[in-house]
Symmetry: C2
Subunit: 354 residues, 2 copies
């Protein structure tokens, strides 16, 4: 029986033909060499009055993503999205992307093509040019390495270290949707999945697989100097607030009842064994922004958000460092913010996150 | 029995303590945040009249390196060296490096520390600042992802696509040493390894484990506009000459007897089953430069090389595209250049290259 195109593997094709295939897929978000794929390095022209932002991430099968729960197109999309979110957190404009992909030689070619298509989808959305890429063999797992390069007006980048005592703490969007979506993917057969309306299940899973980096809002916060510090919510509110406070040498008080939860996530919580606290503090990958704003800028911020239609929510206040990080619960009790963020090396079992 | 520090694993330490350890090791080649490790992205200031060069590589255990053959310090050194070599090939000055490292949680901490020390060693040599890094868990294999950023005077970068018919083809140093060194590492117990003088074995293995990126010579070729095209020899002469010729839309004639071989590599060839042709054309990872020079610039090139003490050797001439790529053997016979370069996906077994 002849092999169908779907069954062709990467090793059937060979490295150089594979490179051509990749270049075809990325054709409309690639630049001609030497400013794109093809030379030993890509050349970037600096523009005056701007600074470059550079960030990189390594994503591994079984750790950061799992093809049981996502298609390769979704994996490609999300691998780029989490890096683009780093640009959003700095207030930058993502411009260039480099991708390294390692796959076992037996990988079906269709998977590799789908992965690059997902990458292309999000690069088109954000008008990002892919300037470098290589595909090599791995022994067992798929490994994706992405470097993203953006620009920001000189001196305007949002850093983690600018929060001041008295600043108000804000988040964009709603928290916990992605974490709830992951649980639903992992427990498709569990009791509560069947009880939830299908539209709720779809919404939460979609939020996990297709997070939207908050690039435009980050740019506005930076350009108008509205935020004193910012970070994107990748590890979960508890961990990421801790990172921001450590960098700024401050403490924080947040209020549980102010943490924005979508109606879909609330429905999930009501059926599942997960508490509202766990889902909103410890589940990561929402890729919303967490940022701090001086009390003097509250009005400007609110006007901007209303005019442009952004959902932003004040969840607390920056405190002196010695007061540490606390959360006020719905019943009024105040407790130290739990350390619940994800630690790759301490999790009892390897945890898939896509 | 108490566990010795040597036996501590990455999972004993946890992600955040590990990050501190890494920052200590990299202390003298790191920059303060936000221009270094610690924010969502690093900020780079552009300098006028220059362009940025960006290159990235993904290196996997069992494919690109093998801890059977190299210490973790050597692996860290070489992972950076192969990326720095990309800057050399473009005539650039490497300035910034980002590293992503994925290791199984059971990895001894000593291995991770050694790997970062090797990286630090070469960053010190080339005055490179580490501006980003993250360490995460993998399921089985170690995975290293490096992005390197350099600068070059605007318009001076050496590209692959500039070779003209009639240009002379040059290589730096000697070819095949690294390939011979790898064979010796793989066949430590074989007959010929015992027959070779120990100093020869040490020299060749050292050339495999500690390649020297030709950064300074690349810079001179670019600055003085001596080369029309350049590439670094990572896949082997046969494959890399093909890449350069394809990018430049030209053919090439090279002479076997002109390919520079070290006396140590010649000794290896005389004892081993490998032919001089196979070792000099198909064995990669020498990280020497292959470049083309207009006949008008031969004298300037030779004066420069003599004055600065660089070994460069003319190995052939660029031909019209339709003539293809040929090699003249020692007996005068002329044949098509064999396609012997390394293809990750076609090798019959997974091949370790460090």
């Amino acid at each position: 029986m002849p092999r169908t195109p779907l069954r062709r593997t990467v090793s059937d094709l060979g490295e150089f033909t594979l490179l051509n295939t990749v270049q075809q897929i990325l054709a409309d978000c690639n630049a001609p060499s030497p400013h794109g794929i093809g030379d030993d390095a890509a050349i970037l022209q600096p523009s005056s009055g701007h600074e470059w932002l550079v960030s990189k991430d390594l994503l591994l099968e079984g750790i950061h993503f799992d093809s049981q729960y996502a298609t390769y197109r979704e994996i490609g999309y999300k691998a780029a999205a989490v890096n683009i979110s780093d640009m959003a957190a700095m207030g930058g404009t993502p411009q260039y992307l480099l991708i390294g992909l390692a796959v076992p030689p037996s990988t079906p070619l269709a998977h590799v093509r789908a992965l690059y298509r997902g990458l292309r989808d999000i690069c088109r959305t954000f008008r990002i040019t892919v300037i470098g890429g290589d595909t090599c063999a791995s022994r067992t797992d798929v490994c994706i390495s992405i470097t993203i390069i953006g620009t920001v007006k000189a001196g305007h980048a949002l850093c983690r270290n600018g929060a001041q005592v008295g600043d108000h703490i804000y988040v964009t969007g709603t928290l916990g949707d992605s974490g709830a979506g992951l649980r639903l993917l992992q427990d498709r057969t569990s009791r509560y999945t069947g009880q939830l309306p299908k539209s709720v299940v779809r919404f939460l899973i979609q939020r996990h697989l297709h997070p939207t980096p908050q690039v435009h809002l980050g740019q506005i916060l930076a350009k108008r100097r509205l935020a004193t510090a910012a970070i994107d919510l990748s590890d979960g509110l508890s961990g990421d607030l801790r990172h921001l406070c450590q960098a700024s040498h401050v403490g924080a008080d947040i209020e549980m009842s102010n943490i924005p939860i979508s109606s879909q996530c609330a429905a999930y919580i009501s059926y599942s064994h997960d508490s509202r606290m766990k889902i909103s503090l410890a589940s990561g990958e929402d890729y919303q922004l967490l940022f701090t704003v001086s009390p003097n800028n509250q009005q400007r911020l609110k006007h901007m958000a209303t005019r442009l239609g952004y959902m932003i929510t004040r969840i607390g206040t920056i405190q002196p460092s010695k007061q540490g990080l606390h959360i006020q619960l719905a019943d009024g009790a105040r407790q130290a913010l739990p350390q619940q963020s994800y630690d790759h090396f301490r999790s009892s079992s390897v945890q898939a996150r896509l």
